[in-house]
Subunit: 376 residues, 2 copies
């Protein structure tokens, strides 16, 4: 019943440091799947621009009810639907799961013709919202149910894990399944499976955990009974990632190999020759577009370094001195293939009492498969 994430422009900074602390305290009372500290993003109320009303925003009276033209244009169902031809969506899993067929679009792929991670994440968000759309529970918000809106609640994501085994290519038809389940007493999990429509081969899987936040106070909330009544009939006990034993993500400090205010933390050589295989994000605090954030990144000690791979010139392969030319020139690529590249991240914002964590992350990278580039 939740969107995967709020678009970045919806994330606003909190000007109230106290609410953060209250949040932290509240977090200790809500345990989500063993996570005692809570992550949240803050999609704040958006400023409504003044302007001239037009036919597209005027009020229309239909059957005695005053509904906006916007509602007519969006046409959000008030009752459960089992099929939507425009979204190519279908209710599955005995009436509670959702499947959508999508074609990978030309602008969703990179130079190697495979979908970018951003495109895949976008499609996860889209299918999650369309799932709620089909359920008849969607209110006039970003994935919130009618009961949530009545209680002034919004969804916030606390953890997200995406594993991509094969990236779909331009023009490929994929099926995305998504469903929800319980997570602790007050949370919800949402899983996804991305498959080739032609072969059924699984391209990617993802899991996420969500809780509710009061839109005004920015405090986390228990799940109200009326919301539980809405969403719990949709819960199923099924895991997209079978072995989900989340390792603790260490908190990086100023000793991290790379601290970059431009948020670019992976060397170009790796980005050109590798594709992201796994990403785990643990959200811990809200941040917004007026915040000054800093990203820290460290190559994993358990990755290449432990395997004792050192360049003959003494340059460690475990970091930013790593150049693909050196690797290819020294014939180390074969060994290199056996070891995934792994990185740990921290995104932090300058707070009144020092830096405050926004999100911790981990990524795993695998070497790209060869593919025919665009003929351009």
């Amino acid at each position: 019943m939740a969107a995967f994430s709020y678009p970045s422009y919806l994330i606003r900074a909190s000007s109230n440091t106290d609410s953060h602390d209250q949040n932290k305290q509240k977090l200790n009372n809500i345990r989500i799947n063993g996570t005692s500290s809570m992550s949240s993003m803050k999609p704040d109320t958006l400023s409504q621009p003044a302007g001239v009303a037009s036919t597209y925003n005027s009020f229309t009276s239909v059957n005695g009810n005053s509904i906006t033209t916007e509602e007519l244009r969006q046409n959000i169902p008030t009752k459960k639907r089992s099929v939507d031809p425009h979204r190519q969506g279908l209710i599955i899993e005995g009436g509670v799961g959702y499947r959508q067929t999508v074609v990978i679009r030309s602008y969703e792929v990179g130079p190697d013709k495979t979908a970018t991670l951003e495109s895949i994440l976008n499609l996860l968000q889209e299918t999650a919202l369309n799932h709620v759309w089909m359920s008849g529970l969607l209110s006039n918000g970003f994935g919130a149910t009618h009961g949530m809106v009545r209680n002034n609640l919004i969804w916030v994501v606390s953890r997200m894990q995406v594993q991509v085994d094969h990236y779909p290519i331009w023009g490929e038809v994929v099926e995305i399944d998504t469903w929800v389940g319980a997570s602790g007493k007050n949370g919800m999990r949402r899983d996804w499976l991305v498959r080739s429509q032609a072969t059924g081969h699984v391209f990617a899987c993802a899991i996420s955990t969500w809780v509710m936040m009061n839109q005004e106070t920015r405090r986390l909330s228990k799940m109200p009974e009326e919301v539980r009544a809405e969403i719990s009939p949709w819960f199923i006990d099924k895991q997209a990632i079978k072995k989900d034993c989340p390792e603790k993500i260490v908190k990086l400090d100023s000793k991290a190999r790379n601290m970059d205010s431009n948020l670019k933390t992976i060397p170009d050589e790796i980005l050109e020759s590798h594709k992201l295989s796994t990403i785990i994000l643990e959200y811990r605090r809200e941040c917004g577009n007026s915040d000054i954030v800093q990203s820290l990144c460290n190559p994993d000690e358990g990755g290449i370094l432990e395997d004792g791979l050192k360049h003959k010139n003494g340059i460690s392969l475990n970091g930013f001195s790593l150049a693909s030319e050196i690797l290819e020139g020294s014939g180390l690529l074969c060994n290199f293939e056996k070891v995934s590249l792994r990185y740990t991240y921290l995104l932090q914002v300058k707070g009144e009492r020092g830096n405050e964590e926004i999100v911790r992350g981990r990524t795993t990278w695998k070497r790209k498969m060869p593919s025919k580039p665009f003929t351009t």
Copy 2:
């Protein structure tokens, strides 16, 4: 038969200044709709990453022909198709036009819930490519036909004009029609119409002009007869923008109000309170990701200034000192509404013999309509 534009990652810089000059010379021999100087982008050959072959890239023998798994996955038609259920595409206009139904997705809209210009441009590109896809003419490139590939030719866009009267909103179902026609002797035009599926109301229209470039020499090419034979049966004489009398876009120089290497040329106040209404781009030269480019921008002298609107404190309304608060506070908004905001642009790259033009542009901005923001 052409894609709207090449994704930015496909655009590479030319290291050969001579080829630019040859291009310029060639341009004088090809006149496209009265444009004597030619614009082009340069999607260069992409580097093919080395790596391990996987099942997804191995060769498979089907019916005695050696075809790649990639081809199977993309499933590009070799014959004309009239309907594609996955793309929700349909051949129209007596068999030569293309219509696609799309739902505006959650990540394609801004905080005001309306589609961003970028999303609309993406959908224009997508429908153009799907039009070629349906035609059975699409080769293994970015919109190039089989005949073009045999002649080592690619499409380059020379002019693009998009007019958005209403921005579609999140969840809205829109129909995009696109078709192609002749443009001079060697060029092609492509038009689009974006409509509400429910009401038929036209949201946006767009026109563009395309020519062919030799992929190796980077010189513009006449249209080979075999390519003309492929695409001319698809040409129709129909204009999405009826009154298309292109005004000359002046070339900006160092006297431009704003010169910004960050490519951000519109003040935040305008971006927050206005939406782009028209954009015209005239491409004149290739540029790429290793080029250092500079953007110049000037508010239009024929816009607000001519109407004599001056702020009481003496601040000109025609430029970057303009703040929406001032306008709203001084009650000038009513007058302001009557006048569109207009800007002229120049994007240039540092060349060996001075700055060289990449693209000239013009935009018109209209005040945003009020809309209910996301409940988040």
